[in-house]
Symmetry: C2
Subunit: 382 residues, 2 copies
């Protein structure tokens, strides 16, 4: 049975990436691999929309988040963490792990942060070292207005740090234009790779904090990473295979064009949202912050959402995701980023309707016709 | 030009591993991936020769070394670090990074540690929490007698921690029989995978230190790893593709048999050493501690070793490694572990002789005939 993966990480691998992963391995202390480093560095700068160094770590995204916290904060340092979902909470947990003092700004899950709140906190305490935010909150399907946060943070002494693990390469983030000091990402979302690369771009303003930080670190030490990168090298053995495949992803993204990718992800998201509406579902996120990379849909009363997700996968080979943490059983989520095309979206929606039919959904809701979701999506996708 | 890789990490990828890496990616929170975790856990226990949990981290080997230090030691804790090469020194650096107090036992590079020295240090200070050693010191081609160290450490309150990044799956390490508390490894050596997995087995004695450690950590926190593994899960997104490929490696290793692999690596090492002798070279390591996974050969006076290594690679596609750190330019190194067979060894030696001939080596040494190395190696390999 053909498998279709619409989970918000990992996303499907393009054939060019799969071919690159299957190549014989090369040694990493060679001019051949230095060329790989150079190309990925240049390509990532375009995707991160920055002139800053982008460090490539052999880790998943959480490792890159830890790199941000451990390198920017010393024990006792204060930092704002914006948490409106499971991954926002991770910033708070990381700050606590490193004995920094998180000033937690709770956002109701599914809602947008009001940047004024952050401005007030920063104005009230000049010692705040950093503001930790999330571009796309994978657990809720919310995109944060990073541009607005940048305007609030850029003229203070604090650094703006954004988790763009979900979102990068799907949702616009203009690192330099918007004054984002640190952008963290991973390989298994918009970059269309298997998980295993953590990425982190660091501004000169943030590099000052890196130089000052007293937090213990070694593997994720960005001073060591910087020293190595300046020699087109890595401090430890890099994830060679993934980095070679990354250059294939970068080539594909260049061919499509970053703006076109953003448009496609947005359109696919809109198709899913219109399909949801036609099926009588509602989107979890508020309309002003619905994500262009992942959509969380509320499980309607009377429907066993977990069974629906399981049946779609086990019987029809279509994998979407259930809810995480406090949203477990309450939402299901579909990604519209990376190597997911219009056909995948239509196929997934069609499968969902088949499963809903088997579960008696259309009998219980005679006003909703099987096929309404696919039809609404097709209208959007053209 | 066909490439042959005889570097001590990464080692070449078997076709079965390359095929697995090229498969479509699957989601990690599925019963399908739980099966992957179960199989790799069971297989790794056989390879680590342990009943302890083996945690699989998305990192390179250095990340797993950091996991050992951060989870076992608190700031101020004392630990012995045995350093007889670049990677032994890494233990010391990691202890310092985590503000632990390393009691450094220097071993002349190329020599074996005298376990009595460790016994004396442990007897003199009952507060020593751990002894950090290296199974195969990649920079010098020395294997440490871990069994003897185990006898010295096992009846003290200290934990024995062994870096088996190079060595595991090539050199015998009987984790449980020898009383090794923590074994750290990586994917790109004896396990025949690309780099990107860090592995760490932890004994119940070491888990007590994990529970007590006050060092900051999150991504490498073994309490989180244990909690997840008990549910056949991982705390963060795992390196899915590499873990699926790992199970292919494990299958290949089971088919060959661990003891047969050890014998093969030893025989290939002996072939390289006999070839070196026939060519008038000497091995860097002392005869009582020559590694069965990697051999470092002294660059003889009058030979440009770096040029030889470079020419072998650029002109003939055979990659061996030069020296690291203080041995840069003084030795060259060849691996005999992982997916490196007799033919690779003969091909590499033959290429080396061709390059030596081009560099005038046989003219300068008329008593040594071109072909002497290959001939000596063939005698060993049969």
């Amino acid at each position: 049975m053909e498998q279709r993966l619409l989970t918000p990480g990992p996303t499907p691998l393009p054939p060019q990436v799969r071919e690159a992963l299957a190549r014989p391995i090369i040694h990493h202390r060679t001019s051949q691999f230095q060329q790989v480093i150079k190309e990925s560095e240049q390509g990532l700068k375009e995707i991160f929309q920055t002139k800053n160094d982008v460090f490539i770590l052999a880790s998943s995204g959480t490792g890159a988040m830890e790199a941000a916290v451990a390198n920017l904060l010393s024990p006792g340092d204060k930092a704002i963490t914006i948490q409106g979902g499971k991954f926002g909470e991770r910033w708070t947990e990381l700050c606590k792990a490193y004995k920094a003092v998180p000033i937690v700004v709770d956002v109701t899950w599914g809602k947008a942060i009001d940047p004024k709140l952050i401005a007030e906190k920063l104005a009230a305490d000049k010692d705040i070292k950093a503001v930790f935010a999330t571009l796309t909150e994978t657990s809720t399907g919310v995109d944060t207005d990073i541009k607005a946060l940048g305007e609030v943070v850029r003229n203070t002494s604090a650094c703006l740090v954004v988790d763009a693990i979900s979102g990068l390469g799907a949702v616009d983030i203009q690192t330099d234009n918007w004054g984002v000091d640190v952008v963290v990402s991973g390989s298994q979302k918009g970059l269309m790779l298997p998980p295993g690369l953590g990425l982190i771009s660091v501004s000169p303003k943030a590099m000052k904090l890196v130089a000052e930080s007293k937090s213990p670190r070694y593997y994720f030490d960005l001073k060591a990473a910087k020293k190595a990168l300046d020699k087109t090298d890595t401090p430890w053995t890099p994830a060679i295979g993934l980095m070679i495949a990354l250059n294939e992803s970068i080539n594909l993204m260049k061919k499509e064009g970053l703006q076109n990718i953003f448009k496609r992800c947005k359109l696919e998201g809109e198709a899913i949202r219109q399909a949801a509406k036609a099926l009588g579902f509602t989107v979890f996120a508020d309309p002003n912050c619905m994500s262009n990379a992942v959509t969380a849909i509320n499980v309607p009363a009377g429907l066993d959402g977990e069974l629906m997700v399981k049946t779609m996968k086990d019987k029809y080979g279509v994998t979407i995701a259930g809810g995480q943490a406090e949203l477990k059983g309450k939402v299901f989520r579909a990604a519209h980023m990376g190597y997911i095309n219009k056909e995948d979206i239509i196929f997934a929606l069609s499968t969902m309707e088949t499963v809903l039919d088997e579960m008696g959904y259309f009998t219980q809701h005679p006003d909703i016709k099987k096929g309404a979701g696919v039809s609404a999506a097709k209208k959007v996708l053209g």
